[in-house]
């Protein structure tokens, strides 16, 4: 019972520092559903070439396949975006670090490196095997980054995490490049994938990844209360009866599943996991029970919109979604660094 006053005080403090944009949960959900719907509509209807809308329904029309392709990439974009943003939101809560993102903390780079090694050295060909390899790479990279960053007296500060993440990313990228250069065939396969793209993928790809995404998403979403307790600090969380070590492992598995699958499906896309949770928190406050599902929706909308933008911004070529996401994400990252918010000591 001693816990209630603390939680209440926390909630009160949250209410007092209510952000100016803040909406109720229902309004925010409605807003994001609307954004996702608009994003999907745009993604299906807009592209590098204009196609009459009638072809969308007419299966006999030769241009019908264009719409099929657009619908496929929209679905893939929704899944990948939701996974990345959810992974980012969980990572930010788990590490109490505003700069956490599977792209910045090395998770995606680890998954890419593992996949390239799998393809080149072990000759892996089935997508399921690829996914498992990506999970191993993502897990190893994440653990490495956190271990290295938490060495030393001051523990895992956001700055040390970000720098360790950048170092692991650089190392993994160098080794990936080395393997790719030695193996020309692998190079051809990975050329576009490496930038991060959701175009030209088959729906079967999504079907293979879907179970992992669903498990990861469920683990993450059920972790909302856990993350809320962790936000009070490890000592308080333990005092409230949580087994923090176990909690961290469960949430870590969720992050690895989500980020690993997203990377395997679409290549390493950074900054989605960083930007979306911050935006959502500005709308609904810091309760993870709201932040997590809304982040998933926001991420889905962002990736689909970024992909659509990439298709029309410089016709006739396409800008990969990894690039457009970086264009949107980097300024937000810089803003966060500059404002140094989130109350963590080092920022």
């Amino acid at each position: 019972m001693t816990s209630t006053p603390v939680l209440e005080r926390g909630a009160e403090a949250g209410r007092r520092t209510r952000p100016p944009l803040r909406l109720g949960a229902a309004a925010a959900t409605a807003l994001l559903v609307g954004v996702v719907a608009v994003a999907c509509a745009l993604s299906v209807l807009v592209g590098s070439r204009s196609v009459p809308v009638s072809a969308l329904w007419d299966a006999g029309d030769p241009l019908h396949s264009v719409y099929i392709a657009r619908i496929e990439r929209t679905l893939l974009g929704l899944a990948v975006g939701a996974a990345l943003a959810l992974a980012g939101a969980v990572m930010q809560g788990l590490t109490r670090n505003p700069l956490a993102d599977p792209g910045i903390l090395g998770t995606n780079a680890g998954a890419s490196f593992a996949m390239v090694v799998g393809l080149s050295v072990f000759g892996v060909s089935s997508l399921t095997d690829f996914l498992w390899i990506a999970f191993v790479g993502a897990a190893v990279a994440s653990v490495l980054v956190h271990v290295v960053a938490s060495l030393g007296r001051d523990g895992a500060t956001p700055v040390k995490l970000a720098i360790a993440g950048a170092a692991v990313t650089a190392a993994a990228t160098s080794w990936t490049t080395g393997v790719l250069l030695v193996d020309k065939q692998t190079m051809e396969t990975f050329r576009y994938w490496q930038v991060g793209t959701i175009g030209g993928r088959d729906l079967s790809v999504l079907a293979t990844g879907a179970p992992f995404l669903v498990v990861g998403a469920l683990l993450a979403l059920t972790g909302a209360r856990l993350l809320n307790t962790l936000a009070l600090g490890d000592d308080l969380a333990r005092g409230l009866g949580r087994r923090t070590a176990l909690d961290r492992v469960v949430l870590g598995v969720a992050v690895v599943l989500l980020a690993g699958t997203a990377t395997a499906l679409a290549g390493p896309i950074a900054f989605v996991g960083l930007v979306v949770p911050h935006g959502v928190r500005a709308l609904v406050g810091s309760d993870h029970a709201r932040v997590l599902p809304l982040s998933a929706m926001g991420g889905a909308a962002l990736v689909v919109l970024a992909d659509t933008l990439g298709r029309v911004v410089l016709p006739p070529s396409e800008v990969q979604v990894g690039v457009t996401a970086a264009v949107v994400g980097v300024p937000v990252f810089l803003l966060l660094v500059r404002r140094g918010r989130s109350g963590s000591g080092a920022l």
């Binding site: 700069l99 910045i104 060495l151 970000a162 190392a171 160098s174 490049t177 080395g178 030695v182």
Partner: protein, 355 residues
């Protein structure tokens, strides 16, 4: 110490003379060490350069080497030396010197071992602009270097402005963000080019000294011949700048001088990038290695030689590590340099300073 105390009992004049003697003796030790380190590095550089040029899968004897340079045409050997081995070795040396000096200038002036031009996005900014100029506009030679310098200066300014006046960890984080943005620009440009040349892409992403024409190398050598003496002259105040802006100002070194040093660092790394691409982690590695060898004192010459040794020997490894494949040198320096960064973080050195 004893000399000084004893001297005090005699006359004031001889006391000062003795004190001067003591101070001189104390100063001589590190100076001797610096001379030793610089000499050792120079020998290492000559050895690495020699190995790079003479050994490998096609051995060239020293007499042959001298004869080819003098103009004799030895079938096969002349071509391999003058078109493949020698340009690679010379470019590796020049780029290593430029990156090493640039890194040392950044790290000492900003007083942060993580704030080297390759980590905070300056090299990648130069690279992104060079790529746009080469791949999309079809430029060559001096204009490319000029554009690269512009890009590097622009990124440096943006990072400086966004990070605010207090630098430190913020500078590093903003720089990492800027580097990520520049990297995606480079990758984007290469998805637009029809003819996909892996070696070319990697040159601009990780740096490479393969297949660079002599005019480009000559241009870099010319620019360095102007910039390095200038840096040498301006960097006399480096040991004072290292104490921080306030202390340096108190000791009569203006802030403008530190800024000029940073600008020189930016330009040095940009011209090297225009020729060899942003060779990963050389700027970052050269300074700390030279410092450790030299007992914790920074010398421009030491950093320059260390950078050159690192690039030349990494290029040798890159060429012969995997049979039949010419890895770009940046892959080797990156694969070695990034774990070094992790180690630095794990030891708490960098983290403390940066945080």
């Amino acid at each position: 110490m004893t000399a000084v105390t004893e001297a005090r009992t005699v006359t004031p004049g001889s006391a000062i003379a003795d004190a001067v003697q003591v101070v001189r003796a104390a100063r001589r030790v590190p100076r001797r060490r610096t001379a030793l380190v610089v000499g050792g590095l120079a020998v290492a550089l000559v050895a690495a350069f020699g190995a790079r040029v003479l050994l490998g899968d096609y051995t060239i004897t020293i007499p042959d080497f001298v004869r080819i340079l003098a103009g004799t045409d030895i079938p096969g050997a002349t071509y391999i030396l003058l078109e493949s081995k020698l340009p690679r070795a010379v470019l590796a040396t020049l780029a290593g010197v430029a990156f090493g000096v640039a890194g040392a200038l950044f790290q000492t002036t900003l007083r942060n071992p993580l704030a080297s031009p390759d980590i905070i996005g300056v090299s990648l900014g130069a690279s992104a602009c060079a790529v746009v100029a080469i791949a999309l506009w079809g430029w060559q030679g001096l204009p490319v270097s000029a554009v690269a310098v512009t890009g590097a200066v622009a990124v440096a300014l943006v990072v400086r402005l966004v990070a605010g006046p207090h630098g430190g960890y913020r500078l590093v984080l903003v720089g990492i963000g800027a580097a990520a943005a520049m990297q995606s620009v480079i990758q984007y440009v290469f998805t637009r080019v029809d003819e996909y040349d892996a070696q070319l892409v990697l040159r601009w992403l990780t740096g490479s000294v393969n297949g660079v024409a002599w005019p480009t190398i000559r241009l870099l050598a010319l620019v360095l011949a102007v910039l390095l003496p200038l840096t040498w002259w301006v960097a006399r105040s480096l040991r004072v700048s290292e104490l921080g802006d306030d202390a340096a100002a108190g000791l009569g070194v203006s802030r403008a001088r530190s800024e000029l040093l940073l600008l020189l660092g930016v330009v040095l790394s940009a011209v090297a990038v225009a020729a060899a691409g942003p060779i990963a982690f050389v700027s970052f590695l050269a300074g700390p290695i030279a410092r450790a060898l030299n007992g914790g004192r920074t010398t421009i010459l030491g950093a320059a030689l260390t950078g050159a040794v690192v690039v030349v020997s990494a290029d040798y490894v890159a060429d012969y590590l995997v049979p039949d494949t010419n890895l770009p040198v940046g892959v080797v320096t990156g694969a070695v340099g990034a774990p070094f960064l992790l180690w630095l973080l794990a030891r708490g050195r960098a983290g403390r300073r940066a945080a």
